[in-house]
Amino acid sequence: MNASWSKAVISGIGELKPERKTDGINTMDLLMKVSAQAAQDAGLEPGEIDGLLVGPQVGETPQHVPATVAEYFGMQPVMSNVVDLGGASGPGMIWRAAAAIEMGMCETVLCVLGNHRNPVSPRSPNRNPAREFDTPFGASGANTSYALLMQAHMAKYGCTPEDYATIAAGARANAQLNPMAIFHGKPADVDDILASPMVTSPLHLLEIVMPVAGGEAVIVTTPEKAKRSAHRPVLLLGAGEKITHRAVSQAPSLTSGPLKPSIARALQQAAMDVSDIGFLSLYDCYTIMVAATIEDAGLCKPGAFGQWLRDNDGMGSDARQPINTHGGQLGFGQPDLAGGMTHVVEAVRQLRGTAGGRQIENCETALVTGNGATMSEAVALILGGAS
């Protein structure tokens, strides 16, 4: 399947500083704040935004989410929807926005995700098969699912705990160059990661993202409207998506996920080889997710991510192929479903050349991945700076 994305451009971004707690602040306030940032960054008036993509369960709003958000924002969109792909929702929004623009459904789409964080979160209201056939055995929550994926990966390929911990340490090192990151000023090396408490083997505490409040917004628009932004336009060069399952027990493979075909399709559309990509903005809810993605992207053979990272000279902006320069979610914090969008926002900064002290030299292309549920919802984007 071929696609050209010549009519859609990313022209605006917004990001809130992650916070551990937001007592008394509601999600709608956060979403509106970050959306206003993105609109301003794009040089657009609120009335010019005629498309709206939001996540599911925004704050306390389970239904009529786009209408509720639009009304609060004072918008009257001609195209709106919920994108419900877990951590892949952000990247999933970008190519849906581009497709809507390409098809003439609307001209300018606001893609926004975020959440507040109160001290006590309510228990999940899920009444689906995972709730019936996983939870009763003591396996509720994402941690156990990713631990099962990691154990299977370790058993199959013999990778060491140090290999995986290198990813968390690399994320922390990158976070030291991002004042917005929740772990800015709090470095952790491989020994620190492995000394942190075992949460669910083989996952240590510091291999797991820190949940935070926050928000991320991106404006996708036409090349014409993108001229209103002061920044270099960022183009969508390719996209791929796949969903394979929901519960980890139903995964077709425990060591390779739907990102593999998604990335392959995105690269094919962009007519690029993964080794040519300038910046790897890889979804990192857990260390194992980055390991599996490096392998699924074809950067190395399965099981060889550890050696590949060493050959890559780590993950920093001076690495051969820099990874997650904003700190990733492991270093930045995971603002709920907006966590996946942090990878889009950082890619846009790198391609614009506005990443400050962590700017990659001559960054022209980026691979952005999103991942949801149990390595089961995948979106891959290839982004490029306009020439």
């Binding site: 228990r123 009444r127 098969p129 709730r131 019936e132 056939f133 996983d134 939870t135 009763p136 055995f137 003591g138 396996a139 509720s140 929550g141 941690n143 156990t144 631990a147 099962l148 994926l149 154990q151 299977a152 058993a155 199959k156 408490p197 075992m198 949460v199 669910t200 083997s201 083989p202 996952l203 519960a247 980890v248 027990s249 139903q250 425990l254």
Partner: protein, 137 residues
């Protein structure tokens, strides 16, 4: 393990009319899964029609109860606080000899476990319910 599984106050299965035969069978010590008479594949968890061929030809059949461990995790910090008294405990992915995989609670009885180990069905009371757990061997 510091507390017996029977003493736990943890979420039980959310049984539906469709899945009730599975849970009823577990209570009487049998592992029943669905078999598709059209495509001849086994199905777990229970469905209304076959997820492989979409034909309405599923029948309940007793599984062998044999399986192997595809992966496992020793849980120290459970997702649900009701499980804290039982930590650390083992959950695993059990590939049944009939084909499908189910997540279950693995009773190791102190043994070391490894991916690929053989397992057998061991219905066990957790809280006030009998659940389809597995033992080594």
């Amino acid at each position: 393990m510091t507390a017996s599984l029977q003493e736990l106050s943890v979420p039980g299965p959310t049984v539906t009319a469709l899945t009730e035969p599975f849970w009823e069978a577990v209570k009487s010590g049998r592992l029943m899964i669905q078999h598709c008479d059209s495509c001849e594949r086994s199905v777990f968890y229970p469905r209304a029609i076959c997820p492989h061929c979409w034909v309405d030809a599923l029948t309940w059949t007793e599984a062998s109860g044999r399986g192997k461990l595809k992966s496992f995790s020793q849980v120290w910090k459970p997702g649900h606080p009701g499980w804290i008294p039982a930590t650390p405990y083992l959950v695993g992915l059990v590939e049944l000899s009939e084909g499908p995989t189910m997540l279950s609670h693995i009773l190791t009885e102190g043994a070391q476990v490894a991916v690929g180990d053989a397992l057998h069905f061991a219905p066990t009371q957790i809280g006030d319910r009998i659940l389809p757990c597995f033992k080594m061997g």
